[in-house]
Symmetry: C2
Subunit: 117 residues, 2 copies
């Protein structure tokens, strides 16, 4: 990365839901933007926390014992090992940070291919 990363512009370059696109690297992590709508799959990551920041819209992060609602400008970290299921009633745009190569479903066999944009 040699210049500023404009997150809205990066998000304008694709339409697919639940398919994170890498925009930068940070200490061995991928910084990604993603468009989401509807319900994702229940999953957890045994080895990493999961960072969510809402850039546009609103999401719920459903966990087994509670649900956290995130609106634009709000963030949440799902601790490693905690099962969660993101949900968005309408399209929402997120910034995600995960260790490079982390499968977004928690399972390499069902994970979205990691792409950059």
């Amino acid at each position: 990365m040699t210049d500023a990363v404009n997150l809205a512009r990066k998000l304008s370059l694709f339409d697919e839901h639940w398919s994170p696109r890498g925009v930068a690297s940070f200490n061995g992590h991928d910084v990604m933007v993603v468009k989401v709508q509807g319900e994702f799959t229940w999953h957890s990551h045994a080895d990493t926390d999961d960072f969510f920041l809402v850039l546009k819209g609103e999401i719920e992060i459903r966990m087994r014992d509670r649900t956290v609602t995130l609106r634009e400008g709000e963030m949440f970290v799902v601790p490693k090992g905690v099962e969660h299921c993101p949900f968005a009633r309408e399209e929402a745009h997120l910034l995600l940070i995960e260790p490079a190569g982390t499968p977004n479903t928690g399972n390499p066999e069902t994970a979205a291919v990691r792409q950059s944009v």
Copy 2:
């Protein structure tokens, strides 16, 4: 952290410049908000990249060979070891991510005390 973190609300709780406040932990890193204005000190971090996301306003990240301007919704990662000097003509609000305990000046003797908010 047990609930959503509203970054604007966290920023409303203090006025001091160049004094990052922790709002969450993520994989051994502190996620922080900070208000900045004017010129910081030239410094580098030998062991970590430096993550900047502008939440409000505009900053320059001055490096020895170039300057990157960041506006609201734009981010940049200063690679570890690269000397940089953040600058903001008017007050700007940032999200920062650094390994827990990283001195913000690159030097423990001159660093701001790490506080949470």
